[in-house]
């Protein structure tokens, strides 16, 4: 009994410590973003006075002049488009790998893995040059294409792991029940594969949302394809003399909201997806 209580206490302390450590920086940023310019440098965890001015400033100027609105739209659209395409392409590939027999399967898997380890910095130079030659520098496709490349291995591995768990005997059962391969795929396999695809989509979205290196090398303007992380890094204050700390903190909080929502609603899926591809080995 006594030992039980002690153990319970130790684990409880551990749990609380982990939660605090994980959430503290977000809390800190949030507080920072609510400080007035006068108090932003006071180093206090709890602001003396609260203000939403930092958030308002992000959107003043509307579509054309706001420093944040365009990058936010760019971020959302680019991440969504890249995710959609990546999941479609990865589903094809993962289906073939999980379900079909063909020479080159091991090569595709090994290649994807190699790309997962590939250093993106090694290709930004050539891409910078190629994209300018092709005229897609600082455009949506210019970012979507590299995102696809680096998101595909993640998506393929996650999906292969999920697809392998689908009882494929069901497809045979459907065939014996009189279904054509297309019917079997549509009515039996797709409904079973959807949760896995959704999970992979979340992971890919987070990946695209997160990217910084491609965003600062392959874009140059918010009117083009600059995304929020890149915009944040090059944020300037309203005047030369005010540091944009509060504004950056506010923008940082705003781009964190979707992540928090994903995590809150799909915690189980994300954990399953992250570990699905990796642990089998």
């Amino acid at each position: 009994m006594k030992r039980g209580t002690r153990e319970y206490t130790i684990w409880s302390v551990g749990i609380v410590a982990i939660i605090v450590a994980a959430l503290f920086p977000v809390f800190w940023l949030l507080m920072l973003s609510l400080k007035t310019p006068a108090t932003v440098g006071d180093g206090r965890l709890w602001p003396k006075e609260f203000t939403f001015a930092n958030y308002e400033a992000l959107f003043t100027g509307g579509f054309y002049d706001s420093p944040f609105l365009r990058p936010l739209i760019n971020s959302i659209l680019i991440a969504l488009i890249a995710t959609t395409i990546a999941i479609i392409l990865a589903s094809f590939t993962a289906y073939a790998i999980a379900r079909l027999n063909f020479p080159g399967k091991a090569l595709v898997l090994a290649g994807s893995l190699a790309i997962a380890m590939f250093p993106p910095i090694s290709v930004v130079g050539p891409l910078f040059d190629m994209w300018r030659a092709l005229g897609i520098y600082d455009t949506y496709p210019g970012l979507i294409i590299p995102y696809l490349t680096f998101a595909l291995p993640l998506a393929i591995y996650t999906l292969v792991a999920f697809f392998r768990e689908i009882p494929w005997e069901l497809e045979q059962a459907a065939a014996v029940d009189g279904a054509t391969p297309m019917q079997a795929f549509r009515k039996v396999i797709v409904p079973l594969a959807t949760p896995g695809m959704f999970t992979a989509a979340i992971l890919v979205f987070i990946f695209c949302w997160n990217d910084f290196l491609f965003a600062i090398t392959l874009t140059s303007s918010k009117e083009g394809a600059q995304t929020v992380p890149a915009a944040l890094a090059f944020f300037t204050g309203e005047s030369q003399f005010t540091a944009p700390t509060g504004n950056i903190a506010a923008a940082a909080i705003l781009v964190t909201i979707p992540i928090i929502l994903f995590v809150l609603f799909f915690q189980r899926r994300i954990v399953a997806g992250l570990t699905a591809g990796a642990v089998k080995g």
Binding site: Y8, F92, F128, A252
Partner: protein
Amino acid sequence: MSSAAPPQVGAAAQKPKKVGLTERGRAERKLAWMLCAPAVFVMILVTAYPIGYALVLSLREVDLRFPNEGGFAGLDNYITVLSSGLWWEVVFNTLLITVISVIIELILGMIIALVMHRAIFGRGAVRTSVLIPYGIVTVVAAFAWFYAFSPETGFVNNTFLSPDDKAWFGEKGSALTVVIFAEVWKTTPFMALLLLAGLTTIDEGLYEAARVDGASAWQRFVRITLPLMKPAIAVALLFRTLDAFRVFDSIFVMTRGAQDTQSVSILGYDQLISRLNLGLGSAVSVLIFLMVLIIAFIFVKGFGASVPGQEEGR
């Protein structure tokens, strides 16, 4: 199973190999190739082709500031890079960041994984919270810690940790410390989740058996948990090491490479994008690529990190 008989029974596992023998086999193969083609194309377009292009550029004298000059330079660019003290200092920085952060992450990650595994209550809450650092944009995390440590805005200098007015980013050692700190905070959860997944595959009965055999908690951890988790640990280390080696975002936000805090990625960016020296920058790119290859090779050969998916690939 009898020795002579071919694989049979366990109907699901019985996916017959039909290689080029039947109509169906050929159709299956063709379908598979068609399904893989688009993804493979995109992956090659942005990796194999550019790295080849980088190789070509690295052998030439290409400087976008002087677009009309430039010719074949042979290995000159490589010689320039490899004979500069800066390059080796940057490599050292990067390896330092990589090794220290991965070691800390492994230890912390293991502890967090154990806590999450044994958590009697609040399982969902812990997993949800650790996903925040994983999911948060790296640049955002870097800003959070930058502002926390920065003397102008931060609270760190107000705490017992650092009573005086320390300029954390004014000097290499402390700046790299903060970079490592931010990296560890951001990526430990990923490590912990991979390790947790390895933990959950261990049969609970083994611990009970060891307990009956008189093993202490520490002995159970060392004799049962660690050996059985070796594959999970190897995979987690491989991924984290390669990831840490590419460190870029945090340094860019915190110091932009000032105070000699450049990593190889920052150096490459600097040459390619800021100075537009494609030849030299490409040589750096190719060297980084080679180093990543070497690290991966060491892991796979040396640590026996079984690459996920490979042995499942029938």
